[in-house]
Structures are given as structure tokens and as C-alpha cells.
């Protein structure tokens, strides 16, 4: 089920009505949320709920055993079982074709003429999110950082909680399960703020990503021509806006919906396009994934505790895996590698050059960071290396005579919208929406809110899927 659909509106109204009714106990309400979450997921493809059940059962059992078991050997076994099942799901459903294709190419390079049989298996929506979430649970219990969930219901709801099930935020057990132990109700102000977040999330997705930016990005990236520099930049900037509004929109909806239920989810985006440098970018973009990668890959690989060479190796491996997490293709690996490289170069520069950030050099550095990030988006969006190569050449204005395919209105629309996005991120980088909302006149907030609702309604989006569902 998509947040940007009529079905979801009806679903949410029913869930809220049951949640705030006095006929259900807290345990029954949690049971209702769990069933609603399975319905939310199952209305897309019912059999794939079984994967959720398997993941839930395995990690619930592993968690209990890890907590109770004293033998290190047995504890390792339960951890490995959890990792094997979750990573096995990912390998089978997400990376199988990629691995098979690469194996075929490698074998055929030696002249064997091997042909792999395509299996055409569907990619379960949000599999990368819920497997990472449940793995963090067992790993944290293994490290004795957290206690297992009190009840199976609490754990199952943690795995399946519908607002963040298919595209995050990836929530840690200690941040979410503990909230299920006692009855939660949103007060009116929390509920109103949750509704505002849901509205702004839908506005970002439906109006900004789907209506204003998606077509231009698709048009440019589906072109096989060598494009004029302006067209290549228009397409890349459009995609940078589309992916942000699409994904941040989903996260904002998720946080808002959870808040309407009185449950707090962590922030996933903090105005990333105003980042000064790439470390800052990863502290602001998809925060729950980057902190997951930091805690479960970068630090176990040694982090910054074992010398510079190992730190750089850990950094690049983490970013390569981060790239691969987004999709089973070499273009995603390159995207991750570029970010890894940026982080390494930044650390090298930081050790040599010390700059005191002020408003003027800050905005310049933020703009430079954003421009560099845009080059990485080319690999993220392009389906083939040839497209990415052509785009990069055009963006560097190496082609004097590239083809113009984007119309004047679309160029102006994209540059205007992206400039506004950048300025907005710059102004907001050290504050939050909540803080600003409390400072502005309620009338201004109300009018802005109504304006967003109006544009959502007149957009009548065709219920486009969120980009991150495929990851």
C-alpha cells in the first residue's frame, strides 16, 4: 500500500479510529497494529508476508537464545543463523541475478559459452530495510547492548510497524521496541504535528518529486544522445531533487504517521543539500542507514582505531557495500565508491587545511559539496555506464555541440526549484521544521499547510511508487 493512495487514507482512518477507541486494551491495540501492518504489506503481494514471518520468527528465537546462552560458540551459532537467513533473503531475492550475470560474464571471458537461465523472481518491497532492522536487533543482543523484546508481539510489531516497514527509517530495537511496552497516545499537538508531517511528506512526493521533477529527470536519463551541458545538468539536478523529495517525503510521512499514534521515529534527513563536506552529508542524508553502516560495518572493520590505511580501507568497503545495498548493479557500486573516495579526500584535506566556516565560505563549500554529490547521482540514476559516461562528459561541458532536448520551461522550472531547495536547506541546516513552526505565526503555517493540501489535491498523482521501495 502506498502512502500516496486513497486506500491508505481509508486504512489510516480505520487504524486511528481503532487505536484511539476505548474498546481495545494496549495489547489488543498492538495486535491490531500488527495485523494492520501485515495488511499494509500484503495488499501489495500477500505471499511475501511469509518472508516477514520467517525473518520475525528466526530473529525472535535467535534473540532469546542469544540473551540466555552463555556458551560463546552457541551464541555465535545463533547470530550466524540470523545473519544467514536475513542476508540469504537479500542474496536470493536482490542479488541473485546480479551475481549470476557477473558469474556468467566471468566464465564466458574464458570462452566457456555458459548461458544462465533467468529466474524472474520478484523483489520483495522494502526487503533491504526490514532485514537490516532485524539484523541490528540480533547483533545488539549478541554484543549485550540490549535486552530481547519482552513479548513476541512487541518484537513482531518492531519488525513490521507499517509506517516505516518498506522504506525506513531503519529503527534500532532500543529506540522502538521500548516504546511498545507502555500505552502510547499522541496529545492533540503531537497529532496535529504528525498530520503536518504527513502533509509535507505527501507534498514532497506527489507535487515536487512526481509532478515537477520526475519527467525531466526521466527524459534526460532515457536519452541515448550526447546532450548539451545545460540539458545534462537539468536532468541531474532534477533527479537530485526527485530522489530527495521522494525519499525524504516517505520518511517524513512515516515519522508523521507514527507520531499520530504517539510513537516517535528518528529523523532520516537533516537538510542534506546544505552539507559542508561529505562526512556532513552522510550525517544528514539517510541518517538511519549511514549510522547502521557505521555501527555494523565501518566500526567492526576497524573504524579509525587502527591507523590511517585501515581506516580508509574500512571507509571504502563500507561505502561500496552501501552502494550495493541500494541496488544490485555496478552503477550503484560506483556511486558508493565515489562517496568513499570523496570521504577519503575530505579527511586528507581536513588534516592539511583548516578552514573556519563562516556564512560566505560555508555556502560556497555547501554548493561545492552539492555539485560533487550531483556527479554521484548520475551513476545512481543511469541504468548503464554508457549513459553515465555521456552525462558526465556533457556536465563537464566537454561537448560543445550536445543535443538540446529539454524545453525552456522545464530548464527554468528545475533550476528555480533546485535553487529554492538549496537555499531552503542552507537556511534550515542548523534548525528544524518543528522549531521554525513554533516561531511562525499560526496563520502563516495554516495558510502554507492549506496551500500544500490544495496542490496535493489538484495534482491528482497517479500513485507512483516511491523510488526507495525497490532498494
Amino acid at each position: 500500500m502506498l502512502f500516496n493512495s486513497l486506500t491508505f487514507v481509508v486504512f489510516l482512518v480505520i487504524v486511528l479510529a481503532l487505536y484511539y477507541s476505548k474498546i481495545l486494551s494496549w495489547t489488543s491495540k498492538k495486535g491490531m497494529l500488527l495485523l494492520a501492518s501485515y495488511l499494509f504489506y500484503g495488499l501489495w503481494n500477500p505471499p511475501l508476508v511469509i518472508l516477514l514471518w520467517i525473518s520475525t520468527m528466526v530473529d525472535w528465537t535467535a534473540g532469546k537464545k542469544l540473551a540466555a546462552e552463555e556458551s560463546q560458540r552457541k551464541r555465535k551459532f545463533w547470530l550466524l543463523l540470523s545473519l544467514f537467513v536475513n542476508l540469504g533473503f537479500l542474496a536470493f531475492f536482490k542479488y541473485r541475478d546480479f551475481l549470476l550475470d557477473n558469474f556468467t560474464s566471468a566464465v564466458n571471458a574464458y570462452g566457456y559459452g555458459y548461458e544462465a537461465q533467468p529466474m524472474d523472481i520478484i523483489l520483495p518491497m522494502g526487503i533491504s530495510f526490514y532485514t537490516f532492522q532485524t539484523m541490528s536487533y540480533t547483533i545488539d543482543i549478541y554484543k549485550r547492548k540490549i535486552e530481547p523484546a519482552h513479548t513476541f508481539l512487541d518484537f513482531a510489531l518492531y519488525v513490521t510497524f507499517f509506517p516505516q516497514l518498506v522504506a525506513g527509517p531503519i529503527v534500532r530495537a532500543q529506540d522502538l521496541i521500548t516504546q511498545f511496552y507502555e500505552e502510547k497516545r499522541a496529545n492533540f499537538n503531537q497529532f496535529a504535528w504528525g498530520t503536518f508531517l504527513l502533509t509535507i511528506g505527501l507534498f514532497q512526493k506527489i507535487v515536487l518529486a512526481d509532478i515537477l521533477l520526475a519527467d525531466t529527470s526521466d527524459q534526460v536519463f532515457s536519452s541515448t544522445a550526447i546532450l548539451h551541458g545545460v540539458d545534462a545538468w537539468t536532468g541531474t539536478l532534477a533527479f537530485s531533487g526527485q530522489i530527495f523529495f521522494d525519499f525524504a517525503g516517505y520518511s517524513t510521512c512515516a515519522i508523521g504517521i507514527a507520531l499520530m499514534l504517539g510513537i516517535v521515529l528518528p529523523d532520516n534527513f537533516k537538510y542534506p543539500y546544505a552539507s559542508i563536506g561529505f562526512s556532513d552529508f552522510w550525517r544528514r542524508w539517510h541518517i538511519t542507514l549511514s549510522s547502521w553502516l557505521r555501527d555494523y560495518i565501518y566500526i567492526p572493520l576497524g573504524g579509525n582505531q587502527h591507523g590511517i590505511t585501515r581506516m580508509y580501507a574500512a571507509l571504502i568497503i563500507t561505502m561500496l557495500l552501501g552502494g550495493l545495498w541500494h541496488g544490485a548493479a555496478w552503477t550503484f557500486v560506483i556511486w558508493g565508491a565515489l562517496h568513499g573516495l570523496y570521504l577519503i579526500v575530505e579527511r586528507l584535506l581536513r588534516s592539511k587545511i583548516h578552514i573556519k566556516i563562516n556564512a560566505i565560505n560555508g555556502i560556497f563549500l555547501a554548493l561545492l559539496t552539492y555539485i560533487m554529490v550531483n556527479f554521484t547521482w548520475v551513476f545512481f540514476r543511469a541504468r548503464e555506464f554508457a549513459t553515465a559516461k555521456n552525462m558526465i562528459i556533457s556536465m563537464l561541458f566537454i561537448n560543445g555541440e550536445g543535443e538540446k532536448i529539454v524545453e525552456t520551461f522545464d530548464v527554468i522550472k528545475v533550476f528555480l526549484l533546485i535553487s529554492l531547495l538549496f537555499m531552503c536547506h542552507w537556511v534550515m541546516r542548523n534548525t528544524s521544521m518543528k522549531e521554525v513552526s513554533l516561531k511562525v505565526n499560526p496563520w502563516i503555517l495554516g495558510v502554507f499547510w492549506a496551500f500544500m493540501v490544495f496542490l496535493i489535491v489538484i495534482s491528482q498523482g497517479s500513485g507512483e511508487q516511491f523510488i526507495y521501495f525497490q532498494f
Partner: protein, 346 residues
């Protein structure tokens, strides 16, 4: 408390804004209606699963959509056909889908618009993909999408501003369509497309009727003629007669061997279209060859007085009134030839 006040203001202003928007578009002549979109198509496609041997499925292009009036057909036979024709598309992928993915063995009326029927079997070509994408969508439809569409029907039937047709007409009034009406000096070499206005209405059964305005307003009809000329005056790939006929015959054989019946129908055309079709796809080389090879009942409008006595409004489609008569005449011919069931006689 601040957010409570803002929420109240937002609710009040949203209701006001949306109401004003609805009133404005109604004052501009818009009224609540359904969109010819992939959701309506798959809802109709689902009917094939339960269809009996007496049922009739229509596949084809826009001429089959405009000219065959489902109500007239039902009035004469007691059976309402299942309308699966797609504008601007070849019927081949839809017929293929019915043959391969359903057990239907009733009657299929195949509308043959030569420039589309004989166009291509290349899956990425628009005449093919416009139809095949809908069959694919039917295969992959989720329960959530099904439910979503059911919920959208009352809204489409109540609000004039709800317009999200797959065709993306110039006079659609969703935000994307409204933005497209802003024209700035061009920076590409792409020729400017003439405005393509929606010139038909569709109902929940996918019965399409040409707007009355097309008959009374010559300028409107002429604007559609301009679109046809622009669409067909560029570099159009040559027809692929061999591949398209071969593709059709393979499916036709499979369908008839399980007891299904096929009826070919060539709808009327005039002026620019008639010239183009008779020069580029002459009857003797295309239609006649298809009919001979398929060896199924076939009806070319030129061979029947009851089918040729009409003047198309914009060279390609009949007015709603003429479509009623055309359907009546066509059904009577089919009944006389004993090709379709008449439940009214049983």
C-alpha cells in the same frame, strides 16, 4: 496550541480552496466524468475471466471504441460486449493476452484500423506498447491498486476537477497538465505539437461516445484533424504486414481451435485517413490478404450499405448518434449471419 490553530486554519482554507477550484472548473464547462485510464481497462479486462461462450469481447483501436456502442449492442442482443479496444494501439497484444492468459472461447470482434493493425510487432513501438502495457498492468495489478481504483470511482463521478486520463490531453486540469499549457520560447528542435483536446467521454463500461461539441463546433473537429495530420506526417515506419499477419494468425488459430469465434471489422474512414490508408495500405494488399489467410468472418464498411452510410467527423470516428446507428446496423448483420448470440430470442 499553535499547531491546533494552524490545523484548523489549514482545514478551513483547504475546503474553501478545493470548493472554489471545483466551482471554477464547472463554470468553465467541465463536469464529473471517468478517465480512460489503465485502471478502467484492467477492471474491464477482468470481466473476460468469467465471460461465457455467448459473450463478446471487442479489441481494436479507437475506431472500435468510438463506433461500437455497447448499449445499442445490448439492446439488440441482451449481451453487453466487453470493450478492450485501446486508442492509438494495435489490437494484437490484447488479443494475444486473451488467447494466452484466459480460457475465453466466446466471440472476439477485432477492429482493424490498417495503419495500426499492420504497423508492428516490435514491443517497444508505441502502437504495441500502448496496448501491451495495459495487459502487463492487468497481470501485475496489486490488491491495493484494485481497492484504490474502486475508491476513486465515486470521486471521479462527483468532482469535475478530477481528471487524470492516460492520454494527457491539453484540456486536462490536473497540475501537470496545467503546467504544460505554459509556453515559453522553444530551445529544442522538436516540432511544436498542436493541442490535442479530449473529444470523447467514457463510462464505467468503457463505452466511448464522441462529444456533441465535435459535431456542432467545426473548429474543435478541425483541431483534431490537425493532430491527425501532424501525427502522420512525420517519419512513420513502414507497415510490417508479414509479421503482423503472422502474429495474428498464430493466435487466431489457437483461439478458434478451442472453440472461440473471431470477427474482423474494418470501420469507416474519410478524407485524409482514407487517402492515406488506400494509398499506403491498399485494401487488396492488406485487408483482403488478412481476411483470406485468417478465414474468419470479416466486414469491411465499404461492402455494406448499413456500414458505409456515415460521414466521420474528423476523418476517423463517428459521432455518438451515428455510432448508435452504425452499431445497430452491424449487430443486425451479425445476427442475420448467425455469428453472435441473441439472448432476447432465447
Amino acid at each position: 496550541m499553535k499547531h491546533k490553530k494552524s490545523l484548523s486554519i489549514a482545514i478551513a482554507l483547504s475546503i474553501l480552496g478545493i470548493t472554489a477550484w471545483e466551482i471554477y472548473w464547472r463554470s468553465q464547462g467541465y463536469f464529473p466524468d471517468l478517465d480512460d485510464d489503465k485502471y478502467l481497462w484492467v477492471k474491464t479486462r477482468a470481466l473476460v475471466e468469467d465471460a461465457t461462450e455467448d459473450d463478446v469481447v471487442i479489441v481494436g483501436s479507437s475506431r472500435a471504441l468510438f463506433n461500437i456502442q455497447l448499449g445499442q449492442w445490448e439492446k439488440l442482443t441482451g449481451i453487453q460486449p466487453i470493450q478492450l479496444a485501446n486508442a492509438g494501439a494495435t489490437p494484437l497484444p490484447v488479443f494475444h493476452d486473451i488467447v494466452e492468459n484466459s480460457s475465453f472461447k466466446g466471440t472476439v470482434v477485432v477492429g482493424v484500423t490498417p495503419p495500426l493493425f499492420f504497423s508492428t510487432t516490435f514491443e517497444q513501438a508505441p502502437p504495441w506498447s500502448r496496448a501491451s502495457s495495459r495487459s502487463e498492468f492487468y497481470k501485475n495489478l496489486t490488491y491495493a491498486q484494485r481497492l484504490n481504483y474502486s475508491l476513486s470511482i465515486p470521486l471521479q463521478n462527483s468532482l469535475a476537477f478530477v481528471s487524470n486520463d492516460d492520454e494527457a490531453w491539453i484540456d486536462d486540469i490536473n497540475l501537470k497538465a496545467l503546467l504544460k499549457t505554459i509556453h515559453l520560447p522553444p530551445r529544442t528542435d522538436k516540432p511544436q505539437e498542436p493541442p490535442f483536446r479530449r473529444f470523447q467521454d467514457i463510462d464505467i463500461n468503457r463505452n466511448v461516445r464522441m462529444k456533441e461539441e465535435m459535431v456542432s463546433d467545426t473548429a474543435f473537429a478541425n483541431s483534431i484533424k490537425t493532430v491527425w495530420k501532424t501525427l502522420l506526417s512525420g517519419d512513420i515506419p513502414p507497415p510490417d504486414k508479414e509479421a503482423t499477419i503472422e502474429y495474428f494468425l498464430k493466435d487466431a488459430e489457437k483461439f478458434t481451435s478451442r472453440g472461440g469465434k473471431i470477427i474482423l471489422l474494418r470501420n469507416p474512414s474519410d478524407g485524409f485517413f482514407k487517402d492515406l490508408e488506400s494509398k499506403g495500405l491498399p485494401r487488396s494488399e492488406f485487408w483482403d490478404e488478412l481476411v483470406t489467410k485468417a478465414n474468419v468472418p470479416a466486414y469491411h464498411y465499404q461492402d455494406y450499405k448499413g456500414l458505409s452510410a456515415f460521414k466521420t467527423i474528423e476523418w476517423s470516428h463517428l459521432s455518438a448518434k451515428d455510432a448508435d446507428q452504425f452499431t445497430e446496423n452491424f449487430v443486425k448483420i451479425l445476427l442475420e449471419d448467425g455469428l453472435i448470440t441473441n439472448l432476447k430470442n432465447n
